[in-house]
Amino acid sequence: MVNETKKVMMEVKNINLRFGGVIAIKGVSFDIQEGEIRAIIGPNGAGKSSMLNVINGFYHPQEGEIWFNGEKRPSMEPYEVAKTGIARTFQNIALFKGMTTIENVMTGRQLQMNKNFFWQMLRYGPAIEEEVKHRKRCEEIIDFLEINNIRKTPVGSLPYGLQKRVELARALAMEPELLLLDEPMAGMNVEEKQDMSRFIVDVNEEFGTTIALIEHDMGVVMDLADRVVVLNYGELLADGTPKQIQADQAVIDAYLGVPH
């Protein structure tokens, strides 16, 4: 659903990220347009997750600029980035394992709860309205992702596929403008992948959330993504629509190897 008049939501410019002598990202620039599903692909160690961590504030690049909603972003910590409307999920599920599904999802509302802690303690007055309002929204998201049957289950005991879904629910509870998904379908079977793909498309279309995702399954990427960035050894290899990427000789070489 890309149309030509799309506004650029996020732009990374000439990002360089080094860990000691190891260069993780080398001069990478690309943009993410409002409302699109943007895939970031590449072989293992290409710098995809590092790129997400840069956008998310976990890593601070030595050089380069990040522009978000038309403004250059200063160096930020992850919790500050969250406040600007960017949510994410992790490659290795990062849930609050001691909490139930609904409690996990409620943490996504953390930033929007601002009543005095004294009222919250007493569950009195304005704090009750607040709690009810946010809980309602969380229940809607839980319904949307079809995980209402595990609402009260501690997430540590859930199967992998469902944990991934709870993580997505928590990110959605933040009502982000930009949602970063780090391998949302890793380790899933075909059926689970189909479910997850459907949810990603639904989130994009129904909530209008812009999504940037890393994924290894090429079939999924080609189906879901409006545009694709390809990274290889920390460098930008290609950038375009799935069709263009599939036909790109450099990409084919990187994935299949060049005959010697």
């Binding site: 969250a82 949510a87 990062a94 609050f96 303690m121």
Partner: protein
Amino acid sequence: MDFLTGIFVTPFAEMIDMPDLFFQALWDGFVSGTLYGLIALGFVLIFKASGVFNFAQPILVVLAALALISFYKMGIPAWISVICVLIMFYGLAWLIERLILRKLVNTDGNILFMSTVALSFIIIGAAQWIFGGRPSSMIHKELGFPTGSLEWPMFGGGVYFELLDISAAVVAVLLIIALGLFFSRTKIGRGLRAVADDPQAALSVGISLNQIWVIVWFVAGVVALVTGIFWGARSDVSFALQIIGFKALPVLIIGGFTSVPGAIVGGLMIGLGEKIFEIYWGPLLGSGVEGWFAYFIALGFLLFKPQGLFGDKIIERV
């Protein structure tokens, strides 16, 4: 045979024979139990938030008590002195976060633990330098806590209630309820649990680790202040007071390092257990049972239920 009777028959016969004495023992045990629970609570809060056994917690109790007395001696009214100590602890929490925790985030638990050991020695040194090392007495009277005792006729005898013990128990129970509500219902409490569970994920939903750490260390300071006031009132305030911190260890082992209710239940078990055991079984073993009873129970827990009654399976980090 006499020995077995001494263990299994005589103590219970005595309990039934003199219910007033038994009730007295229960009350005394309850009071020291809540106070043990309070000390343990300070450890639990910090362990939950940053996964570190805070070696400096007992010295915070001494620092709170010493600072309170010093402020009062400077001519500041008693309750204003309490506020001054709170402000001081907020500053201290902020400094600890800035200078220690922030630098050591994501390092091994042992490194954090060693840094709290260092912190405790820094605080000892600083406190001796600023407040002096001489024992002084607590200002609980000036704070308006009643002294003296009440005798209540009961079961044909009488039970003594120290008024100070009653206020200690009341304040401890109120503090525990308040903390329970604070951590289960407020945004900050949720944030704390999130940080304890997975710091990275907590950051990604917008929770600031730094803010949570400052709050938790401050709350641990508040708990230390209350502990300091009531323990200080029972003896002198001096650096020897930090030894009560060691009493918190068995409490933590029994209740679990991560559980607020565990700290309370563990505290009560130790408090009640050692009083009852001392009075009824103590004579069999010579006296001084109170000194080792807690550790004996804790050893049993370590052997058979190392995670404690309410704890997570996290004890290996200590």
